[in-house]
């Protein structure tokens, strides 16, 4: 299990390759990577992510442990950045390893659903018209009800 809350970028290739190493009992590996989108008309200059040091690490560790137990994972990984990011940059990623594909997929979706509305991160979008906090979506809250 690996959990990291960091302001520095991470390398998807390096992280994916390292995560996949030595999984001779886990036939299925799923990764999800979230990137900063440019926005509807590409006017987003940057995204600033604030978090709650201490609580964030504890929340992410608990989510990864829950996923491992619930979906019988061989391994799980969560990396989430904070600070200022520009469009195209990677915000976060999760990775899951399981014996079969169904559990690996479900665990990755489970982690994403919890990260969206239960991990203490707040996004603010900076464009040429100013800065605004990203509003939470009802659909993200609703997504939790399936677990």
């Amino acid at each position: 299990m690996y959990v990291s809350v960091q302001d520095q970028p991470f390398d998807l290739g390096t992280v994916s390759a390292k995560f996949a190493e030595g999984h001779s009992n886990n036939g299925a590996i799923v990764t999800f990577t979230g990137l900063v989108r440019g926005g509807a008309d590409d006017r987003l200059e940057a995204m600033e992510i604030e978090h709650y040091p201490g609580m964030t690490e504890a929340a992410l560790n608990a989510m990864a442990e829950n996923a491992i137990n619930r979906f019988s994972l061989g391994d799980a990984l969560i990396i989430h950045r904070y600070g200022r990011l520009v469009p195209g940059e990677m915000i976060m990623m999760v990775a899951t390893a399981a014996r079969h594909r169904k559990n690996a997929f479900e665990a990755a979706e489970f982690l994403m659903d919890y990260l969206k509305s239960r991990a203490p991160f707040w996004k603010r979008e900076i464009s040429d018209s100013g800065a605004s906090w990203v509003a939470s979506k009802d659909e993200d809250e609703d997504a939790l009800s399936r677990w």
């Binding site: 979230g34 604030e50 709650y52 201490g54 609580m55 504890a58 989430h80 915000i91 976060m92 994403m112 990260l115 969206k116 509305s117 239960r118 991990a119 203490p120 991160f121 707040w122 996004k123 603010r124 906090w133 990203v134 509003a135 939470s136 993200d140 809250e141």
Partner: protein, 81 residues
């Protein structure tokens, strides 16, 4: 007790954290106490439905007890991922 504020709650209150002396029994009592202090608190806590609270770094309800609690944080719904 340490009180922390994040995102637009922090912006409205004007500080990221502060230490206060309180005998509030629950989070709700604490909120009522803060709202009675100054306009900026009244503004930040005007719509509790749009607020979330963590007690000692765990998500909690507004009726959670504050007995023995060291840290309470207020913030909008989270937008991670």
């Amino acid at each position: 007790m340490d009180i922390l504020y994040f995102a637009w709650v922090r912006e409205r209150i004007g500080v990221p954290r502060e230490r206060i002396e309180t005998s509030a029994a629950t989070v709700s009592d604490l909120v009522a106490e803060l709202r009675s202090r100054e306009e900026r608190y009244e503004l930040a806590f005007s719509d509790l439905g749009s607020l979330r609270v963590a007690v000692d770094q765990e998500l909690a309800d507004f009726d959670a007890s504050l007995a023995g609690v060291r840290e309470v944080a207020f913030f909008p719904p989270m937008t991670g991922g």
